[in-house]
């Protein structure tokens, strides 16, 4: 369940710069046409920051702009300021690969590599530092435990990851992302492809994860947003590009939405 929220519409931090992620005037253009505009928000530490909105509004694009996966899409241009712990990430001097090690991502469809479960977990972590023997094993175990998958796979770590069910695969992807020890985890509709039981497992995981990490969650399931998020930003299409039309504490948004589009959306969404 999400935490009770303060009455103010914007988050108060003791020091303004304590936000983990701060976004100001982010805009994303595809071949000149704007996909996202005037996006500004701040993500606080240990918060589950939710992003909801209708399909096509640009939620996934927004998420990808946060770990510069937008760099990989030809024709996409990002303007504005995105800061991780007050360090801008869109500078030429930034090591993008290291950045992605600090801001991990979970996709809607679990993408599992055709290798063993153990290999999958270590796939990203292996590149960052050399792992031998017991250190390796400990990392595998801790990542799988944190992803609530350890008990189910502990005796078949060498088995192919492709044999796992979809729900297990998604948790494996989470373990893989966790093994890299990111501070922030971006999740792009992580339960859309899963059955209700796996969905519930992931939601419980998210609530446990936020104790040590910060999560930005894109979802179009309002009930999920209610269950899991602390803060909600609503992205809707305005003049053909996505904009944040409302951004406030989850309870506030869900019980008393201000914006017309959000009201419509909440009335019609699952």
């Amino acid at each position: 369940m999400s935490e009770p929220c303060s009455t103010s519409a914007t988050p108060q931090s003791a020091v303004a710069n304590a936000s983990v992620l701060r976004v100001r005037d982010l805009a994303v253009f595809a071949n000149g046409k704007p996909l996202l505009r005037n996006v500004s928000f701040a993500v606080e530490p240990n918060q589950v920051f939710g992003v909801i909105g209708p399909s096509g509004a640009g939620k996934s694009t927004l998420l990808r702009a946060l770990n510069r996966l937008t760099d990989l899409i030809p024709g996409l241009r990002v303007t504005g300021d995105v800061r991780l712990h007050d360090q801008p990430i869109y500078e030429a001097s930034v090591d993008v690969n290291a950045l992605r090690g600090r801001i991990g991502m979970l996709f809607q469809q679990p993408v599992v590599f055709p290798a063993s479960i153990e290999e999958n977990v270590l796939f990203g972590a292996k590149r960052l530092r050399s792992l031998h023997g017991s250190v390796r094993h400990e990392l595998v175990e801790s990542a799988l435990r944190e992803a609530a998958l350890w008990d189910e796979v502990r005796d078949r770590l060498r088995a192919s990851a492709l044999a796992l069910s979809v729900g297990q695969q998604q948790r494996l992807c989470l373990a893989r992302a966790l093994a890299v020890e990111p501070e922030v985890i971006l999740m792009d509709e992580p339960t859309s492809a899963l059955d209700p039981k796996s969905t519930q497992a992931i939601e419980e995981l998210i609530l446990r994860l936020k104790v040590r990490r910060t999560i930005v969650l894109v979802t179009h399931n309002v009930a999920q947003a209610r269950r899991v998020t602390d803060w909600l930003a609503c992205v809707c299409l305005r003049d053909g590009a996505g904009e944040i039309v409302e951004s406030a504490c989850s309870d506030a948004v869900l019980s008393n939405p201000q914006c017309r589009e959000v009201i419509d959306y909440l009335a019609n969404a699952p």
């Binding site: 991502m105 996709f107 796939f123």
Partner: protein, 289 residues
């Protein structure tokens, strides 16, 4: 009616093919009777003395093709990595088209370039080895490697592109660099297609006649004592195809044994290239109904 005509023409085509294989088997029978297995293992080919050993030619074909592949594969696959992983859509299409165009250069043109250019380069390059001429197995191998280069590049590029983009994206999202993604995701997952590319390129090299004929030296009975050494590459040799393309094919027709020996070479070639092609296409393609 349409159905009948379709089946008729298909039948004609297929029957011709079956007939082709049958003819090669049948016409080569005399030499199998005469030599038995010695046909494949014998090292001397003296048609006037009715002695037919095809081993030097099998050796020649295999050596020339394998060396060609060894030369072309790294270069071709490296180029394919570039086109598949680093180029965006339009440049990649342009390069693909260019390469397909260049794959069509006729072998006789390659042969010409081999005779008038490559042969001299090899002769000068290896002058200290006292070559008799620039027509050597190595010359043929180098020429072949350029000929199969487009095949290697195109097929390897296809194999790499077949790896889903989601796999690459997941690796990048974990913080892997582009080259790490290529080494640990794209290349391993494209293994089957890449092997297929190499097998098909090898088959193409084995079957090449004209270019090899012009620069290999056409020296019979030159099987070296130590098969795996490199020195024999610098000598003239004979391959299955260069023998088939020679005047012996014309001369041999009247004499059943000699003709059988010649056709037998064709049969060996047919079996080798057929096997490689079946393996290569079996590997690469999945069933597509």
């Amino acid at each position: 009616m349409t159905r009948a005509w379709s089946w008729f023409f298909s039948f004609v085509a297929l029957a011709t093919l079956a007939f082709l294989v049958a003819i090669f088997v049948w016409q080569s029978l005399p030499v199998w009777h005469h030599e038995g297995w010695n046909y494949l293992t014998g090292t001397k080919w003296f048609f006037r003395q009715r002695e037919f050993g095809a081993l030097p030619m099998i050796y020649g074909s295999v050596v020339v093709s394998v060396v060609a592949l060894v030369l072309a594969a790294p270069l071709g696959m490296g180029a394919a990595v570039f086109t598949a992983e680093y180029l965006s859509r339009k440049p990649r299409l342009a390069v693909k088209v260019l390469i397909e165009l260049l794959a069509g250069v006729p072998s006789v043109v390659y042969g010409l370039l081999g005779i008038l250019l490559l042969r001299n380069w090899i002769y000068e390059l290896f002058a200290r080895f006292d070559l008799l001429s620039g027509d050597t197995l190595l010359t043929a191998a180098v020429l072949l490697s350029v000929m199969i280069l487009p095949t290697v590049v195109t097929l390897s590029d296809d194999a790499l592109r077949a790896v889903p983009a989601t796999q690459r994206r997941a690796a990048r999202a974990l913080g892997l660099t582009r080259s790490e993604t290529i080494l640990h995701v794209s290349l391993p997952q494209a293994r089957r297609g890449l092997s297929a590319a190499l097998l098909l390129a090898l088959g193409r090299a084995l079957g090449e006649t004209i270019a090899v004929f012009l620069v290999v030296g056409r020296q019979d009975n030159n099987l070296p004592e130590r098969l795996l050494s490199l020195r024999p590459l610098l000598e003239s040799g004979q391959t299955l195809t260069s023998k088939l393309g020679s005047s012996e094919t014309n001369i041999g027709y009247g004499d059943p044994l000699h003709w059988g020996a010649i056709v037998g070479l064709g049969l060996i070639l047919l079996v080798l290239t057929g096997a490689l092609t079946v393996l290569g296409t079996g590997f690469g393609k999945r069933s597509d109904a």
